[in-house]
Amino acid sequence: MIGLRLYLAQRLSAFLMAPLVIGHIATMIYAVQNGLTASEILDRTQGSLWWGAFYGLFVGAVSVHAAIGLRAIAFETLNLPVRWLNPLTWTVGMVLALLGGRAVAAVVF
Amino acid sequence: MFERHDTDVLIIGAGGAGLFATLHAQKAASDIKVTIAVKGLLGKCGCTRMVQGGYNVALGKGDSVERHFMDTIIGGKWLPDQAMAWKLCETAVVRVRELENEIGCFFDRMPDGSLHQKAFAGQTFDRTVHKGDLTGIEIINRLMEQVLARPVERLEEHRALALIKSNSGDELAGVLFVDMRRGVFRFVRAKVVLMATGGGPTIYRYHTPSGDKSMDGLAMALRLGLPLRDMEMVQFHPTGLLGGENTRMTGTVLEEGLRGAGGYLLDGNGRRFMFDYDESGERATRDIVSRAIYDEMRKGNTTPNGGVYIAMSHLGPDDVRQRFKGMVKRCADCGFDLAAGRVEVVPTAHYLMGGLVVDPDTRTELRGLYVAGEDAGGAHGSNRLGGNGVANSTVYGGVAGDIMAGDVTGAVGDNSLKLLREPDEAQIEAEIARARLPFSRKNGNVHELRLRLMHMMWDEVGVMRTGDGLRRGMKQLQELKAELLETGLPDDDMVFNITWHDWLNLHSLIEVSEVIASAALSRENSRGAHYREDFPDSGKLETSYFTVARRIAGDQLEVSQEPVDFSIVRPGETLLKDEPETLVSARG
């Protein structure tokens, strides 16, 4: 049960994430070469507005995107009743945004 | 024993005529209840859907209603009812605009944006409007959508069994149906009823119409003693697909254009034979080609399945594939190679010119009953022009809708159809008993009887007829009918019982076949689609007559001959002034 707004939100977030994910994968391949350490990650990210924006944007987009994606799966595959779909979408979106926000805060500030 | 249901306007059949009538009646008076009942699914049965060629209409630019009318009269060999033919040609102009502008049909265009009109056999002008070679699908889909979107009551898979008179006996009270899905009888009372079940000569071994058509409407009218005209006039299309007895593909049309484009007809030995019959060869008219093929078949010069071949490959298989994409694909889907190989063909019964006697307002002798489309006789006389069939059903369907709505509301015309009438209960009971008959008979094989009917009609009442053959045929019809009435069904489950409906179909078909054979026997000349080997002469045009058949006491048929009223134009005259009669060939 997806209408115009949810569709747009999902596709726009996907558009947004595409370069971010490509960037992320590239960074990971680069970073993982010598094994990951917390300090290495934090060195790169801490205090960097750029990385803050990068991951902040990603968290925002993915919260929207995944929430709507799970909504479709919940309805189509798990036959969740229609009245639960909005609460589910919001909950998933909020949880992702909060956890993601906390993670960004942790690595950036 | 049966359910009762009431409506104001009842329409039987959902072809071009039925759907158009529904829309017009609903539009003319939105406060009346309109009900459409159909044997199949709405929009998905009947022959209008199968129209390939297109829709004849004179849209100026050198063409005129007069020219269209003259072509129709000459094509019908001076037998058409001239008032009806005129109204057909005249109203087609409005109707085609209605189809485009209001219904939304998507007809093909010329590069300049105007409607594309193609050439069709027997016409002196390229006037056939079309959508590729699937014109009927476009017309019916669009009409269907309009009906689906309106507050019209739909009774789908409801088979009309009988027209029921009022208890006073001089009006129609309603129609008895069987709701096929539930297996329940239903009597629907209505103030006015349109019968548009679309004729359809499916009584022949080879035939084109859709499987739901079994001339039920004509049989119902016959049982009420209503007059049927021109019933000997059955049009054969020369090239029906021949795939053997066991496939429903057999009989379906291979497009006329194949011959037009230069296709060859070959006998079983691969010899071109059409020039033995006519100097135009394969390009001769439908009736000539049909008779030539039939003659070859009788001589035994046949293909394995007993027909002749059509061959296109000499035109270049790739070209054929491109020009006749739809036909080539259709053949290929069913296992035939039209582009590079040979395909077996046979003449196939296509259209019934005969039908109920109606006036140009679709009214019949019986008050409250209206008839339009292929069920109505008159407009085509002894032969229908390709492209005039769908024009006829849509034009007169619309006329019927307007007239019926007027009659029900009393706004125009007749004032006394404003009330529902009580039915003749005894007639309802008798018709139910007739329909239930097979359930009380010993199990038999309906299918085998149907095959016998189709073979017999093909042999004795088919492309070429003789007095002896027709008499033999009539005798066999008697026997078949007696046998059918003793043939039962294995199971008394009435729910969606297709074999029961095959039985009912066969009953209608036999009853109408009797009329066709009788009318053919009474016409001792050869006109249009009717060819008597014992009377090959066409008879004097000035004294042209049409046949009228009706049932009198019991099963007795009476066939009379009525003079054609040359109300608009007489043989030897023309309506065309100052213009050549053959514009098309004049243009080269």
Partner: protein, 113 residues
Amino acid sequence: MKAKHNRDPLRIASLIHRISGLALALFLPLHFYVLGLALNDAARLDTFLRWTDYPLVKLAEAVLVLLLSLHLFGGLRLLALEFLPWSPRQKAYAAIAAALSFFVSIGFFLSAV
């Protein structure tokens, strides 16, 4: 009755897209949680990250990258299908998307070990 066409490559593609999306959506909270650890205690993040030195865990990570790239490239194909003029070569694109994904995730795995 069961449909037979589930062997159709494009149906498999859509199944993969759904499964990968679901897996990512389930994994992401975990991922965020672990990163969030750094907020209080960078050392705990490190303990966790050290755990990722095990080859098996590396493989698991590579699978995650595979899922992410499958979903990414598959998603890009869908976005192209929806927003660009029609192309009849969808099966080829789906195959290319899958191939790219394996390429990327193997690249990741090799650089990780």
